[in-house]
Symmetry: C2
Subunit: 224 residues, 2 copies
């Protein structure tokens, strides 16, 4: 049985998972080399469903101009997000994962084949909305951006610690309605400081635009 | 390769998943027999992280009195939810899943061993916050309750269709802040009617209590 927790998974399942991750890691390394050769800053953007990933990416695509922003966006179904992102000026490729709960590096590599990297500085990978499964899958990104909405509660870093521990930057979204939902900023920052002390925190509203300048400034200094 | 979608999963992974689900289905049948023998109405409660599952269950535990409500609650880490639910009068057992993204029937069976069913009419199983992975795992429940928060957007039934298709009832939560987040009730109902026409819909606020009477009334008529 799995020796990590009380999940009761058989050892064979755990072993297969390790093999799957090793295959993914090799594909992620190939992606990383391709991204570096193209001079791209690449972010893996992760959150729960409905935290506002697409709205944030629309804002980044608009504000990063004149350079075009590339987006690879994963959803189980629909290509709504790619359509929204193209309308915001992004070069967007949609991946439909069917019933798969996360993106994998090989899928991202195939999607990247469809993007024209000429003139592009920033590539955003919008993962499937899920605070668990994407954690273990390196996509070849430079930075992981984990998005948390004020509507989800201050305790999410404690309940989904592995994902938050892997974050390079945490963005708290929907701060324009923080008061209406009784969001406790101090508790959220204390929980993040305990679980993800490595990650700078930005508070934004992708809807109103509040806080985006500081995030844009930080991102523009992360290009190698 | 997987023939269902563009996920690129190897056939061996897909086959192992089928075996895992067959094992789970057998354990779910055993749970179902035990739940029926105890005369329990059992709900599998599913949503994204932060939709308000625990707040809804606290309300149901309080309002179902004088009969005690049982809760089996799954989280990757912490036992915060079981503590909250006991304070609301529930008999609660916490399952910590480690890095597992969903509950499985065997885990629920072991947790049920720790509950005292005497006098209990209602057992609520709070799944891990995830709109993908719990879909395929029958826990032996009679009913699936899928919770959607107004803060997550009206498009979630389209983006996570498999889970919503499996719902016996859909509850839209946080309607007290629907206006503040610009929630489009008509669009949400149209999307649910397309994906999950079988499921009655209740609009509630677990925080303010609005709409809970109608949900309680419906639930009280689902006991066999």
């Amino acid at each position: 049985m799995c020796s990590h927790c009380s999940c009761g998974q058989p050892t064979r399942t755990v072993q297969l998972r390790h093999n799957l991750l090793a295959t993914n890691d090799a594909a992620a390394e190939r992606n990383r080399e391709r991204f570096a050769a193209a001079g791209l800053l690449v972010l893996n953007v992760l959150s729960a469903p409905g935290s506002g990933k697409t709205a944030l990416l629309e804002q980044l695509a608009r504000q990063w101009r004149p350079a075009p922003v590339g987006v690879i966006v994963g959803d189980l179904a629909t290509d709504n997000d790619a359509i929204r992102l193209r309308a915001a000026g992004a070069r967007a490729v949609q991946i439909q994962t069917g019933d798969l709960c996360h993106l994998e590096a090989a899928m991202v590599g195939r999607a990247f084949d469809q993007l024209e990297p000429q003139g592009m500085e920033l590539l955003l990978i919008e993962n499937v909305g899920n605070l668990v499964c994407p954690t273990a899958f390196d996509l070849g990104e430079q930075l992981r951006l984990v998005l948390l909405s004020v509507t989800e509660g201050e305790d999410k870093p404690l309940k989904y610690p592995a994902l938050f521990k892997s974050a390079d930057v945490v963005v708290i979204n929907k701060v324009d309605i923080a008061e209406a939902v009784g969001f406790d900023h101090a508790a959220a920052h204390a929980n993040l400081a305990g679980v993800a002390p490595q990650a700078p925190i930005f508070e934004v509203s992708a809807r109103s635009g509040v806080g985006l300048d500081a995030l844009m400034h930080w991102l523009s200094h992360q290009r190698q």
